[in-house]
Symmetry: C2
């Protein structure tokens, strides 16, 4: 059975009005007699008619769609941030065109495809890796909001977390609590946010004359578990551990729990990053930096709204949100 899409001609025929009256009834700006509008709407409901957005995109050059480029969605932090961002964009009257970039598809190819759909603006949750990509984004001639990227350009704004400062803060905290063997558990090198946290942590530790032992993971829970299990088996006895994200932090805590006679927070303080729901679970109680996704998303939506209202200004703003350290059992001895 074939089913034809209902057009404005069908609605006009049933309502006994002209096709142009149907267009005017569905436009928010055109004038039309209330009685005619009512007749059109009744006919449209009967026929299950939906106005086609495409001709209006042709005429105005605006699609009403905002592209969002994301990496993986398995980290609970991203799911939650995307949920908030997507809600905010819809509340502002736009649709979300989602592009998920995995390793094999480059960010540049995604930019090309989104441009073809004439998205009105672009939000990228992937850190921009190169000046070339920043230039390509700028050349799109639409507002671009980049998360976690220091690179900006005409029309390209940045909303980011103060990663370096957070790293320094952990170093100061460890110095205060007289940590002697601080450890860093980092993610993949290509993660710019993780690199900034590490840089700040190393700087801060150097100020206090603390030498940092470096461990590496891939941002997953299991990699955190494995890194600490191996370090302990190798005879290391860290008394301070800063993890580049909470997934690895939870893995580290489970590795410590499996080790009898060496417990957290009595023998080691552990701090994570992202404040994912699991860090608050009773089994972990991991102290962690809350990047305040609400604030990051609100800042992004604010710049987006102003950019769309005045596209010719080619806004290029940088908004830095300080992360909040949430203290839990992994750093605080129970009183």
């Amino acid at each position: 059975m074939t089913k034809r899409i209902v057009t404005s001609i069908d609605v006009a025929r049933l309502a006994g009005v002209s096709q142009s009256a149907v267009s005017r009834a569905f436009s928010s700006t055109a004038s039309i007699a209330p009685a005619t509008k009512e007749r059109v709407f009744r006919a449209a409901e009967t026929l299950n008619y939906r106005p086609n957005r495409i001709p209006s995109i042709m005429l105005t050059g605006r699609s009403g769609m905002i592209g969002i480029i994301v990496g993986g969605l398995r980290n609970p932090l991203y799911g939650s941030a995307l949920e908030q961002l997507s809600s905010g964009i819809r509340d502002a009257g736009f649709q979300v065109l989602l592009v998920q970039v995995i390793d094999t598809v480059t960010l540049d190819a995604a930019i090309d495809q989104l441009a073809g759909y004439r998205v009105d603006a672009l939000v990228t949750a992937l850190a921009i890796g190169s000046e070339k990509t920043a230039a390509a984004l700028s050349a799109l001639a639409i507002p671009v909001i980049a998360f976690n990227s220091p690179l900006t350009g005409p029309g390209v704004s940045s909303v980011r977390s103060n990663n370096r400062e957070s790293g320094r803060r952990v170093a100061h905290m460890m110095a205060e609590k007289q940590v002697r063997q601080p450890f860093w558990l980092g993610g993949p090198d290509r993660n710019a946010a993780s690199q900034a946290r590490k840089a700040g942590f190393l700087e801060g530790c150097a100020e206090f004359g603390m030498e940092v032992t470096m461990l590496g993971g891939d941002d997953s829970y299991q990699s955190g578990f494995d890194a600490i299990t191996t370090a302990l088996a190798d005879g290391h006895r860290p008394d301070g551990l800063f993890c580049s994200n909470d997934l690895m932090g939870c893995g580290a805590l489970d590795a410590l729990r499996d080790r009898t006679g060496f417990s957290c927070p009595e023998d080691i303080m552990v701090i994570g990053y992202d404040n994912i729901p699991q860090s608050a679970w009773h089994g972990y109680q991991l102290s962690s930096f809350d990047q305040r996704p609400d604030a990051l998303v609100a800042a992004a939506l604010d710049i987006l709204t102003r950019s769309l209202a005045n596209p010719e200004e080619r806004l290029s703003e940088t908004c830095v949100i300080d992360a909040t350290l949430v203290l839990r059992r992994s750093t605080e001895k129970p009183v």
Copy 2:
């Protein structure tokens, strides 16, 4: 500074060819001399030109976009499934128009908006709640794939997990292990999948003459923790617990861990649903049903591909995927 979008006229001028030659260069079907195509591509690269998809949508009535309707993204399961679905859709050459439906926005409104963008197909991860919504989806005259919904119609196919059968299986397993006090920890009533699991579990328990005590949560970790903490404080001593999802299951395990002298799996077997990454974490080791999102997504993509190839057939298929029970420490005494 204002920046104008580069058009095919600009490319034609720089390449020294006609505007129609530019169109033909970017069409996969039109014929054009290789040398001319090369000239167009060089000019396009210099000017950073991207062909506009919108006129082609006007002409063909196909947008190359597939709408995905999702609920919340905070449950790790949904993030992972969306990641796979979105990758598969992009591999098939389509873009993803994402609509997130929260409680205040109805599914019906989302359907209206997606129809306006002339999406080529629709995948809804939200269970369809009524015959009316199923009819509205059918009236779209595009292929629709509904997850976790028994309702289908012309053009509307269903891909779902065998929830009821899983519930029965848990009951049989508990009977085998001589459970005497089986408990059910369910989510909100509006969750059709959770209701089906419960129905199967109750049926199975009734067969073996086991009476089930019912606990309720809201699908969150904390609600599972609270429900079990309260039940234990009230003097209940369940020896079997089936949780409608893993988030509540992890909460239940933490509540049991906090309770000295009553441990899992020695005194109680616990089974969850979804097989989220956290269920495999060393701190939980929760036995759980893997809904096989890979298989569900593959089935959805298969129906989608065939539906798009033959839209006039208005395919209406039902594909039921059996969940796999992954056994871990929460049901198995360590040997």
